[in-house]
């Protein structure tokens, strides 16, 4: 089964769309199958235990108790600075 990335932002509209597209494009070009799920911060608890890695556009959301998933800061998707490293970091959790 393809692994899942959860991209979380304040509204599930703007910044998470940008990050999701970039992750999808990069993983597709690297030949990695994955599913990218976009959600709002309020929906974190419902999704957290069903994904393999979480990318936070809304910095600093805390995970529900008992859930332990890798968290990756999404700032580079907005600034472009350090983007390649962030994409590689996400990739590590998907292979």
């Amino acid at each position: 089964m393809a692994k899942r990335v959860l991209v979380l932002c304040g509204n599930g509209v703007a910044t998470s769309t940008v990050a999701s597209k970039k992750i999808q494009d990069y993983m597709a070009s690297s030949g990695i199958r994955c599913e990218v799920v976009q959600a709002k911060i309020g929906e974190l608890a419902s999704y957290a235990d069903k994904v393999d890695v979480i990318v936070l556009m809304a910095l600093g959301a805390s995970l529900p108790a008992g859930v332990n998933k890798p968290l990756i800061k999404g700032l580079p998707f907005m600034t472009g600075i350090g983007l390649q490293q962030t994409l590689d970091e996400i990739k590590q959790h998907l292979v």
């Binding site: 932002c9 304040g10 599930g12 940008v18 419902s46 936070l56 809304a58 600093g60 907005m78 472009g80």
Partner: protein
């Protein structure tokens, strides 16, 4: 001069589903996007505009009659429908000014940076829609294209200056050096927050209350789920409107569908704008070289602090009750009930995570949102209808927690249209803000030094090491 106004008319005649895609295509090409990508972007913009209209029409068909019944059966005259910021943004992008606004604002930002009037480089093209909205509202309120553009640029100038002003404490609080957040929907409320916070500093007793509402998050956590929230609102409206069980349950499910589908359609708009956003960001960043600037990002990065979420959870039911009892309010909050965190995110930084103060200031901010939203609704409704929106049966107008509900946009629009009440309110509020701005900025920084453990940056570090 005449020809500019003439061109504007011709563009209007093309129809809203064509104007923006057409401009996005041209603009993408000008930014050297490959033609294939540019065409795709343009088509996606059109898809989003059409999709948003479909969802809003469905919402109107369901919520409109309920509002009418609500007014008949419970006497609550809440006849202005909250269609959500996404629908307002879409309506604004679909006006001719929406399309022209992006390049104008890009250049305006570069000019101001060049003359060192601001340090903020707003690479977040998406949120230009708030600035353009202020312009389009002004245009429709004054019927004057030049005043419209003046309104847009004034909104940009105020936003960037507020971003500069708030950057020191936002950077410190969130641990984000070199960043500012020129997102009008969050920054606008600082104009109100700063004077109230100064007032709270002078009230004995209120001075030292911090508030600890950790348990609220645990018990009200479900409220953070938009689908659950929509169902609850639907049930309450249905019951109060005197619907029978079957109709109440159906209203609740239909509203939940709107709540979940609407952001997904708005996300298509973002997908279409992405090539422009990326190319513009590179264009701007390349031209800035090594000059010291603040990179202006979406305030979405500031959502997620526990105090923001806790306060938002408490304020959500509050705003619904407030809507019912606040004199002068006609807005029935619905689609934008989920954006409360954006309205209070910067307040949390200003008060260094103090939940009590966030709640007090947040409550005043929400009153202002409802009242300004009601007052500016007639103009917004005209714009909505002009781009092909359909007036929901049972409602007299539309509004949101964005657009004219943001204090800065309200102030610009009312002042340029010379509405005396608006002009006076704007002068008083901005006057008070300017009076306390310097001291509030310093106090916020001092507070973060004294109580460093409450900053978001410190909490994040603690979480990493635990």
């Amino acid at each position: 001069m005449e020809s500019i106004a003439g061109l504007f008319k011709v563009l209007l005649d093309l129809g809203p589903n064509v104007v923006l895609p057409f401009f996005i295509f041209l603009f993408a090409l000008a930014l050297r996007t490959p033609p294939g990508k540019a065409i795709r972007a343009a088509i996606f913009i059109a898809i989003a505009l059409i999709g948003i209209k479909m969802v809003i029409a469905f919402m109107g068909d369901n919520l409109g009659p309920a509002m009418k019944a609500l007014s008949k059966n419970s006497g609550l005259k809440l006849d202005v429908m909250d269609v959500g910021w996404g629908a307002v943004a879409a309506a604004i992008w679909a006006t001719p000014m929406g399309a022209i606004g992006i390049p104008v604002l890009l250049l305006f930002n570069l000019v101001l940076l060049y003359f060192r009037a601001t340090k903020t480089l707003m690479v977040d093209i998406w949120n230009y829609h708030h600035l353009i909205t202020a312009g389009v509202l002004t245009y429709w309120a004054t019927d004057n294209v030049y005043l419209g553009f003046a309104g847009m640029m004034l909104a940009a100038l105020i936003t960037w200056l507020l971003a500069d002003w708030s950057a020191p404490f936002l950077q410190r609080f969130y641990g984000l050096p070199g960043i500012s957040m020129p997102t009008l929907s969050s920054i606008s409320e600082l104009v109100i927050a700063a004077p109230i916070n100064e007032l709270l500093d002078h009230i004995p007793g209120a001075k030292n209350i911090r508030g600890n509402f950790d348990s609220v998050r645990k018990y009200l956590g479900l409220f953070g789920e938009p689908a659950v929230l929509a169902v609850i609102i639907g049930l309450v409206i249905g019951l109060m409107a005197g619907y029978d069980v079957k109709n109440t349950l159906n209203l609740a499910m239909n509203l939940a569908a709107v709540m979940i589908i609407l952001p997904k359609v708005v996300a298509i708009l973002m997908e279409g704008l992405m090539p422009i956003q990326e190319a513009s960001r590179e264009f701007l960043q390349k031209r800035m070289g090594n000059r010291e600037i603040f990179l202006g990002l979406d305030s979405a990065i500031s959502i997620g602090h526990p105090s923001v979420l806790t306060a938002a959870l408490i304020l959500t039911p509050f705003v619904l009750i407030l809507a019912a009892i606040l004199p002068g309010n006609q807005m029935l909050p619905f689609a934008d009930i989920t954006v409360i965190p954006f309205r209070i995110a910067f307040v949390v930084a200003l008060v260094n995570g103090n939940v009590f103060r966030t709640l007090v200031i947040g409550a005043v901010v929400l009153m202002q949102v409802l009242l300004c939203g009601t007052v500016t609704s007639p103009v917004l409704t005209k714009i909505f209808l002009s781009v092909g929106g359909k007036m929901p049966e049972g409602a007299v107008g539309i509004a949101s927690f964005s657009g004219g509900s943001l204090f800065v946009s309200y102030a610009i629009m009312q002042s340029l249209a010379f509405v005396v009440s608006g002009l006076i309110i704007s002068l008083v509020v901005f006057g008070l803000f300017l009076l306390v701005a310097k001291s509030q900025q310093q106090k916020a920084l001092k507070l973060m030094e004294d109580e460093e453990e409450n900053t978001y940056a410190a909490q994040k570090n603690a979480a990493l090491h635990s």
